[in-house]
């Protein structure tokens, strides 16, 4: 196939031969060292700006350091980051979940275990007696959030599954998962994103009405 080469690749390649100056090692060596030294001096004399995102760290006196002293300093995850699950509560504190098993079905890692129960005298008939997520099995794909027809499970906690010292501790039950801001009306938490450069408060229930939005 030909998409219109001006010259043969070979001709252009031969220009790539090192010149004598480059063959003497020293010039390119010194240039390379100068690049690294520039980083060194900038970082030595600058102060570290750990509160803004890497890309926004500019200005006089700000050094180029991109890493942070984890865990004393933590970088907030962007809005919409798929973090630790939470079971969304209703305003009265009970889970929104109606134990429809959609999330457990959609889960590729089969990490969700649900046992359904019935309320006696409620408009809402079903609720999960047990709702457990094995965070060691979870692959954080977000399919459960997408599959939920009740907006009852979200991954907007802004944190990740914590480190545990034994495997059973990684199985999060209903009490552990239930938390965050309560939600009365379903909203599309998967596709709605808070605009960037603002940190969405944990479990915020603002907006979230439409998808594909610009």
């Amino acid at each position: 196939m030909d998409h219109g080469h001006a010259e043969s690749p070979r001709a252009a390649q031969d220009e790539q031969e090192l010149t004598l100056g480059e063959k003497l090692f020293l010039r390119e060596t010194i240039k390379g060292m100068a690049i690294v030294a520039r980083h060194f001096w900038k970082n030595l004399f600058g102060f570290r700006d750990n509160t803004t995102e890497v890309l926004d760290r500019k200005g006089t006196g700000v050094n180029l350091v991109t890493t942070i002293n984890y865990p004393e300093e933590q970088k907030p995850y962007p809005p919409g980051y798929r973090g630790m699950h939470r079971l969304v509560p209703r305003v009265d504190g009970r889970p929104r979940c109606v134990a429809c098993y959609m999330c457990a079905t959609a889960c590729p890692a089969q990490c969700i275990y649900i046992e359904a129960g019935e309320y006696d005298d409620q408009a809402i008939e079903k609720y999960p007696v047990r709702f457990e997520i094995d965070e060691l099995r979870c692959i954080v794909c977000g399919f459960c959030v997408e599959a939920c027809p009740k907006d009852a499970i979200r991954m907007d906690t802004g944190t990740h599954a914590p480190a545990v010292l034994s495997r059973p501790l990684a199985v999060f039950d209903k009490e552990a998962l239930l938390g965050g801001a309560p939600v009365e009306l379903s909203s599309d938490s998967m596709t709605y994103r808070a605009p960037l450069k603002t940190v969405a408060p944990m479990g915020s229930n603002e907006g979230g009405k439409k998808m594909g939005g610009h």
Binding site: H3, V36, A37, F40, F47, G61, L64, E132, F172, A176
Partner: protein
């Protein structure tokens, strides 16, 4: 699941740590900058004064007051220079290497170790303690194969570390000076064979690496040992030849004589006025101005000799891991610290021969007369403190350059190291010997400085200007022209 294991409180918001904003104003930062450097220089001043003071203390036991080189002064020097200065500096360098590399690579660097009660990383300094403790208390594991040659296996790190440790003995850190009524100098050995001692002992280090490689009973280690011995022996030659120009210039192989000759003599300093040794009246009589290329060659060859990147083929951690592959614990630590000690020594030699040793450029006589006024005619002793400081700062600078090369440059291949040593550095240093000798015969050291200046100008021209093409970007992109019928989709 057992209810007691339920981590119900895990998601309580108090458990989720949040970023702690660090508020720093520019003024605050400026204060840190000034304060930090002031502390650094104060520390250096204190260190220098202490070193001189301790040596004076020991030298007090000697009989003669007006000559250096007494037994007790030697003991004091061994203690203060080799055991304290070199070892402490080498230990600090293990940390500096990590912290400086972090700065070069836009990282925070080591920050986890904490001193008890202090909740601050202290710029990573506690890691030194952590490292040492780790090295000391790690299991000293000896594989079955190595156990068969246990003696040689154990001898390896000793032979690598021992000679390196002894090397600093001939390096002078201060001039001979009357310090509180006693003539002392910060140098262990005042011997005529000076630098030859370094060459002789440095070659012993080969045994350490070769033995380590062989007795480890590991193919990777053996390859590393072979590479190391070949490389170190090859670079011995170049190492010596690069310095011949300097020998010609100073007429001595004694490092203290070489250092002495690169600045005002003691008598000139006491007289005051301007430094009479300045070339052409303005250029410090430093070796680097007489032998600029030799300085670069020597630094290169020395880095190859001590096997630092980009010449670390014997280690080459991503290829063959290295001759110390089978070592653990303190023995491994000895190999590592030997490398840092060698770094300090090389920096010391470069400083002593090429960077004027302890001499401060231009200001020595003037500074001395100022200090005389400050302290009842004892200016020379005070000046010595500043001179030691100058020496330490120069050493740190050379070390920094070596580390810079280490982190910036890729590694040579084994045969390319040999190629560089035998086919490029060796002829170049031979040519340097001839040119230097001719210049010296023509007009002594001033003529050498003239040649050196020409070399420096040529070198700067080569680095900065020669072969600079008008910005030829995208060297390899000459592929497809844009697809002509690709209409950009309307927005």
């Amino acid at each position: 699941m057992d209810a007691t294991l339920t981590p119900s409180s895990r998601l309580a918001s108090s458990d989720i740590p949040t970023a702690v904003p660090v508020k720093r104003t520019v003024g605050n930062w400026f204060g840190w900058l000034i304060g930090g450097w002031a502390m650094f220089f104060a520390f250096l001043f204190g260190l220098s004064a202490t070193m001189l003071g301790v040596v004076r203390l020991f030298a007090g036991f000697d009989e003669k007051k007006n000559s250096v080189g007494g037994t007790w002064e030697g003991v004091g020097n061994i203690l203060i220079l080799m055991l304290v200065f070199v070892m402490i500096l080498a230990t600090l360098l293990t940390m500096a290497d990590r912290k400086w590399s972090a700065m070069m690579q836009d990282r925070v660097g080591p920050n986890r170790a904490r001193l008890p009660g202090i909740d601050s990383p202290l710029a990573g300094l506690p890691h030194i303690i952590a490292d040492v403790l780790k090295m000391l208390f790690k299991e000293d594991f000896i594989s079955d194969g190595a156990a068969r040659q246990k003696l040689l296996f154990n001898l390896g790190p000793l032979l690598a570390f021992g000679p390196a440790f002894c090397l600093f003995a001939v390096i002078p850190m201060s001039p001979e000076v009357f310090f509180f009524g006693k003539r002392i100098s910060l140098q262990v050995l005042h011997v005529d064979w000076g630098i030859l001692y370094v060459f002789a002992l440095a070659s012993i280090g080969v045994f350490g690496t070769a033995l380590a490689g062989w007795s480890s009973d590991n193919k990777f280690a053996l390859l590393g040992g072979l590479r190391a011995s070949a490389q170190m022996i090859s670079y011995e030659v170049t190492l010596g030849l690069t310095l011949v120009g300097a020998f010609i210039a100073y007429g001595s192989v004694r490092l203290d004589v070489m250092s002495e000759l690169q600045g005002a003599t003691e008598a000139a300093i006491r007289i005051g006025g301007s430094d009479p040794t300045l070339f052409f009246g303005w250029l410090p009589a430093w070796g680097i101005f007489m032998q600029p290329l030799a300085a670069i060659f020597f630094l290169t060859a020395a880095m190859a000799e001590i096997k630092r990147t980009p010449f670390d083929t014997p280690e080459g951690e991503s290829e063959i891991i290295g001759y110390y592959l089978e070592y653990s614990g303190l023995k491994s630590g000895l190999f590592l610290i030997a490398e840092y000690v060698e770094t300090v020594v090389v920096a010391g030699i470069v400083t002593a021969i090429f960077l004027g040793g302890w001499h401060l450029p231009w200001i020595e006589p003037a500074l001395c007369s100022v200090l005389d006024g400050l302290w009842h005619g004892n200016g020379a002793a005070l000046l010595a403190i500043f001179q030691v400081m100058g020496f330490i700062i120069k050493v740190l600078l050379v070390i920094w350059v070596m580390f810079l090369a280490r982190w910036a440059l890729p590694r040579f291949r084994y045969d390319q190291v040999m190629h560089l040593g035998w086919k490029m550095l060796l002829p170049a240093s031979l040519a340097n010997v001839i040119i230097s000798a001719a210049a010296y015969l023509a007009g002594g050291r001033e003529a050498m400085a003239m040649v050196g200046l020409v070399e420096i100008v040529a070198f700067v021209g080569y680095v900065a200007f020669w072969g600079k093409k008008p910005a030829a970007d995208a060297p390899d992109a000459h592929g497809h022209a844009a697809d002509p019928h690709a209409a950009p989709a309307s927005h």
